[in-house]
């Protein structure tokens, strides 16, 4: 490969002062390492938390929201009104048609009819309060990946047992129950039902594990003293989770009911994730800035030492633009070396960190090799060095050779 004259000069300068180049490059290395590592950390954490959250919560919930009474009179008439919540019931009318309408949307991965029932688990004298979820377990599995959380028994059994129940591990431990044991549940309406444990699941989220159970839709309907057309919610899993708010209106117009996405339901969590991301970005930006100053300083120094050479080059017909090219190339080379070392070091650190066992719900440290962050790190690293190199290079271009030769 043949380089242009300017590049050849830049390479010669870089190679003949290896130590300085290395110091400048190391600054970039530290910056890029921090940038890639911290951003991978944020991404890994967010992914981990998303996974945890979506093990018990749907992307989107369609339900019959409370309505407030409106005056029957013509709105132009002035009357004293006393608005109240209408006691119309919480169920969706014709749930099968609503489900079909939801499934017709192109973004939908899975949708399931859902009934929640507050209940007590009883075994002998002990009672534990909890929540029963009545739904088609196969569809629920598509949504929450139940199968991977089952620690005893088999999820499929639930389908075959009309009075079967898939119990959270926390409840099972408290009541000292195993698979195939019987359990009596009493709903908030006082309906009592004897059920058989088809399996036990453990999501890692202790609130879910200590309260929730899954049962067939019909069992939940019985516990609520309702018929088989009683469905309160439709849970939806969609493809584009991060931009879910774009589809709320679609689902509302498709079904005629309220659609609530996970971001609205978890504003605290979303805000927390945002704060984490901003914090990490600020820290990595600060480190990159320091690296940029390193490059700026070293290049400034180089230029001060090379005033003579710049004057000679200009006397021989190199223009100001050529001088800028030479020194920006030098900055770019330092940046390239630094960025490559930084990416390697970050890979090493991430690998090291991902083997650290934290325990609890988290297990291993939730950090992974994120290609997007690495590409972004490389781009940012090169941009920063070129930016930091351009300022001193522009000053070098302004060097007046006559002034140098007159000394």
């Amino acid at each position: 490969m043949r380089f242009s004259v300017n590049t050849q000069i830049a390479i010669t300068h870089i190679v003949s002062r290896r130590k300085q180049t290395l110091v400048a490059a190391l600054g970039v290395t530290v910056g890029i390492t921090a940038f890639v590592f911290l951003n991978s950390l944020v991404l890994g954490f967010n992914r981990f938390f998303d996974n945890t959250v979506f093990k018990s919560m749907p992307h989107l919930r369609i339900f019959h929201d409370d309505e407030v009474s409106q005056p029957l009179l013509d709105p132009a008439t002035h009357v004293v009104v006393n608005p109240r919540i209408l006691n119309k019931g919480k169920n969706l009318i014709n749930p099968d048609a609503v489900l079909k309408a939801v499934q017709s949307h192109s973004q939908v991965v899975a949708a399931v009819q859902w009934v929640t029932v507050n209940l007590f688990y009883t075994s002998g004298k002990s009672q534990v309060a909890g929540q029963g979820c009545g739904a088609d377990i196969i569809q629920v599995d598509k949504m929450f990946d139940i199968r991977s959380t089952v620690v005893a028994g088999d999820m499929q059994n639930l389908k075959r047992m009309p009075n079967g129940v898939l119990l959270g591990s926390g409840v099972a431990e408290k009541l000292n129950l195993q698979v195939n044991d019987n359990i009596t549940v009493i709903s908030s309406l006082g309906v009592s039902k004897s059920m058989k444990i088809a399996g036990i699941f453990r999501t890692g989220n202790s609130i879910t594990d200590k309260t929730r159970c899954y049962m067939n839709l019909s069992a939940a309907q019985t516990l609520l003293r309702e018929g088989n057309a009683y469905v309160t919610d439709i849970y939806v899993k969609i493809k584009d989770v991060d931009h879910i708010e774009r589809y709320d209106a679609d689902f509302e117009s498709l079904t005629g009911y309220t659609a609530e996405n996970w971001k609205e339901a978890n504003e605290t969590y979303v805000a927390g994730a945002k704060t984490r991301a901003i914090m990490m970005r600020a820290i990595s930006a600060a480190i990159l800035l320091v690296a940029a100053f390193g490059i700026y300083n070293i290049l400034n120094m180089t230029i001060m030492q090379k005033l003579n050479d710049i004057a000679i080059l200009k006397a021989q017909g190199f223009s100001g633009k050529d001088v800028i090219k030479i020194f920006v190339t030098e900055a770019l080379l330092m940046g390239l070396v630094g960025t490559i070392m930084g990416l390697l070091l970050a890979t090493f650190l991430i690998r090291l960190m991902s083997r650290v066992y934290i325990g609890g719900d988290i297990g291993y440290f939730p950090i992974g090799f994120e290609p997007v962050v690495f590409v972004l790190g490389a781009i940012v690293g090169l941009l920063v060095t070129v930016g930091a190199g351009y300022i001193p290079a522009r000053n070098a271009a302004k060097v007046d050779p006559v002034e140098i030769f007159r000394r």
Partner: protein
């Protein structure tokens, strides 16, 4: 009638530091092709300043400058760089080679910038120029490892690489002993007679000036004489 390569029209210049001061005033002269021209005068008379104006590196002056029948005054920085690259070779008092490069590479750089020939051809031509100046055995030595006389000759080889119209020297022998001065003088003489190149050199050395074709004498920023041979007032 010989060909003109450089012409000045009423060139003048101010210095602003420490006080405003007319350092050159109403300088008009012509230089012919193949001429060996020296510029003399007491120190501070403005001869170096004039040389830097002629070299196009200094653009802050009044009057007009023509090189190769082309108006140079007021051209863009890029255009001027191109003119220096193509038409002017420069030799300084202090050798001013790029220390990290070998002598060969130092000679090659202006030609690589010009890009008229392929890199292989440039290398060949650079080696040729070094041979001309009896330097082929130090071709691959870094410039920083050469003696003063060698460095000055490498600088001359570098000034010659693009076959410039004019070679300008700012006290090209000012830093050399008499033996090396004689060598440089002979090279300059040979360039004007055999290659029809033009030399414009500022010097303090009266012998050097006397042996040149023509001498321009400056005093207090004004042209004292330029038509006559040195010594005839």
């Amino acid at each position: 009638m010989s060909e003109l390569v450089l012409r000045t029209e009423a060139i003048g210049k101010y210095f602003y530091e420490p006080v405003k001061f007319r350092v050159l005033d109403d300088i008009s002269f012509e230089v012919n092709k193949g001429e060996f021209l020296t510029m003399v005068g007491k120190s501070g008379c403005g001869k170096s300043t004039l040389l830097y104006l002629l070299s196009t590196m200094d653009t802050d002056y009044d009057g007009r400058l023509f090189i190769d029948n082309e108006l140079v005054t007021g051209q863009s920085e890029k255009k001027l760089a191109r003119i220096r690259n193509e038409k002017i070779g420069f030799v300084f008092q202090f050798h001013y080679l790029l220390p990290e490069f070998t002598s060969l590479k130092n000679v090659m750089l202006p030609a690589l910038k010009l890009g008229k020939y392929s890199p292989e051809e440039i290398e060949h031509r650079a080696a040729e120029k070094l041979r001309l100046l009896d330097l082929h055995d130090i071709m691959n030595k870094p410039a920083s490892k050469l003696s003063g006389g060698q460095q000055q000759r490498v600088a001359i080889a570098r000034a010659l690489i693009n076959d410039p119209l004019i070679i300008m020297g700012d006290e090209p022998t000012g830093n050399l002993d008499s033996k090396n001065t004689a060598i440089v003088f002979d090279i300059f003489k040979m360039l004007t007679t055999e290659h029809q190149q033009t030399i414009i050199a500022v010097t303090h050395d009266n012998d050097f000036a006397k042996s040149s074709d023509r001498t321009i004498e400056l005093q207090d920023g004004r042209l004292l004489s330029h038509k006559k041979v040195w010594g005839e007032v």
